[in-house]
Symmetry: C2
Subunit: 352 residues, 2 copies
DNA sequence: GCACTGAGTGGTACCGGTAACATCCTGGTT
DNA sequence: AACCAGGATGTTACCGGTACCACTCAGTGC
């Protein structure tokens, strides 16, 4: 009190409470409360007096007090593994925008590692804060597993995957995305398509690999062993050096754009031209993908939409009170973006 | 009540309150409170009884109630413009990690646009939530300006810049970073260095430009007009096409890596080899920078450290109660990362 | 043996809102 | 004129913690 500096010499910005507003407006606390909650049962003139007092005092309602009585925090918790990464970051941004539109705030609890404990810790921290709902960005099986037995007292939505049938999932249709990417390469005439896969345990890695495999199988194409990276450009580069020396490789589908970036450089250094000798297609459509050498064909994921969808499903659950799990198809469609890194195979193996 | 599903049939995860714990442990509410707050004035045996009851009931303290009496939320608000972008995303992640280590949670309020209103709105939303402190990621003058007159009743920390002398700033030493990047190119023998600048009004753009200018001036090198982009690879590409046709251009410092990526492709398409004919150096060190063609020299910014520093300064302010603004040097050092995109100039203009 | 200390515990008021109910006041009916 | 409906407002009791003070009961010094 009076410690904060010169700013609270006059009231505004200080700690006016509802009682103060009531006094200034000449009404009761309860009437102030009604005005702030848009109750219709207030005379317009009274309402104006109250609003004037609110403005004069710079009054801001105390959310903690409101939460204590209503049991509603209007706050949503987000548990995420790598919030700085392109995908998760955009999902979180989508969540935050959508949340703020419906009057919710967002608390973010990042995890340092993939274990059981970090997930539980993050969830517990958020639940103590009394969030109304929880969104888990669980790109890895271990996370999804850990979410099964968290002290759940609020609705939960999972991005990418959940192992609990009661928890709705929102995710991009990654199987379909990789299937179409692979198909595209086969249509161009490639005998088969190699795969630069994501690390094991990651939902995205599994689904993209599954889509790739499905396309090959459907076309009756040979299925080469996928090379497993760790999502990084560095791993894409290292594995790319292996692929580059194999003359059978004419088309590669990388499980994400970063690995594709590393792959492009490995091919370049090995003197294998893209797309004339080798076609490459990535996944995600990171901003740089349009400006690699050559511009990278890829599968665009609408991460923002995933975030928005999470909020809309979650607030629907909060409003209805029911857990209407897994009704509608949760898959957000992806979009095949063809740039310059894909083309017809060199006219060596098969000819008319 | 009893609506949430089968999960609260047994108590755990349900809504046990402190009174329940007290009853089970055979003590008073107050003693439970003491145990949970690590008060030394509790007999070990009593403490264990209480902790057992807590575990048995799956009790989680209600943060709203605690906040109401203590006035402390242990929650920190972050106002940010483009949370999905590489820099801000990593700052936010650094903030979140550091915050959780000292027992704080983080609420994120993103802004859709740069105006005055969005900033005030975001701040107001957070202040209603009763945050103990506010961190603003204000990369643009307009944002810094808008922060001047927000209803401030908590300590504020600004990343990049603030116009209020009472608000401490945490930022990377971008002037120095660009100065050294430019110096490096001059040392290699380039007559001068061109600049691909960021858009006007952005603090980072101004500081990086300033560092570039300082290096040229100090070396007595001619100062070409900088080309102004918008941070995107697309703008780097467009402006790069202009630079590519100018035979005088032998070295370019781009204000960020994304523009540098676009520039690299423009140079490649124009047949100007990097670094044999043109040297390029970026800024930020995005993960892809090490795998462009050729690998991009750049200035590494430790965004995570910026976030951590924000928290340490903020919690220090919260603990001391004083606003010890701008004591220590707030600049986080950057690191020059030399890869393959920089080299000696072609031996055309000047000879020994 | 008595006052005294201090550790351990309990009782009560209160934080700032909202829910539920009580009360007041107006205008229209009969 | 008395009555009543219902709109506008006030009163009171909580929500679930913590601060503050009161109390009990050993062990200590005289």
């Amino acid at each position: 009190m009076g410690q904060t500096g010169p700013a609270d010499a006059d009231q505004p910005g200080g700690s006016a409470v509802m009682r103060d507003v009531a006094r200034v407006a000449g009404v009761s606390k309860q009437t102030v409360s009604r005005v702030l909650n848009d109750s219709p049962a207030v005379r317009p003139e009274t309402r104006n007096r109250v609003l004037a007092a609110v403005a004069e005092l710079g009054y801001l309602p105390n959310q903690a007090a409101r939460t204590l009585t209503t049991g509603q925090t209007r706050n949503i918790g987000v548990i995420a593994y790598d919030v700085a990464d392109f995908g998760p970051a955009n999902v979180v941004q989508g969540i935050a925008f959508a949340a703020q539109e419906v009057g919710y705030t967002v608390s973010v609890a990042p995890m340092r590692s993939l274990g059981h404990m970090p997930v539980r810790d993050a969830a517990t921290r958020l639940l103590e804060r009394s969030v109304d709902g929880l969104i888990t960005i669980a790109p890895h099986r271990d996370i999804a597993k850990a979410l099964l037995d968290l002290p759940r007292k609020v609705p939960v939505i999972a991005v990418d995957d959940s192992l609990d049938p009661l928890v709705p999932v929102i995710a991009a249709d990654q199987v379909e995305g990789s299937r179409r990417a692979t198909e595209q390469l086969l249509h161009l005439g490639h005998r088969t398509v190699h795969h630069l896969a994501g690390p094991s345990g990651w939902i995205a890695a599994e689904q993209r690999r599954e889509g790739w495999l499905a396309a090959l199988t459907a076309a009756g194409a040979p299925v080469p062993d996928p090379l497993v990276g760790d999502w990084s450009a560095a791993s894409g580069y290292e594995l790319g050096r292996v692929l580059a020396v194999d003359p059978d490789v004419t088309a590669v589908h990388a499980a994400n754009d970063q690995m594709a970036v590393g792959l492009l450089r490995a091919l370049y250094e090995a003197g294998r031209r893209v797309p004339e000798q080798v076609s490459v297609i990535g996944f995600d459509d990171i901003p740089e993908a349009a400006y690699t050498i050559p511009p990278l064909s890829t599968v665009r994921v609408n991460f923002g939409e995933i975030g928005r969808r999470c909020i809309s499903v979650l607030v629907e659950q909060l409003r209805s009170g029911t857990t209407t799990a897994r009704q509608q198809r949760p898959w957000i469609p992806t979009e095949l973006v063809i740039r310059a890194s894909t083309g017809r195979p060199p006219a060596t193996p098969a000819g008319p």
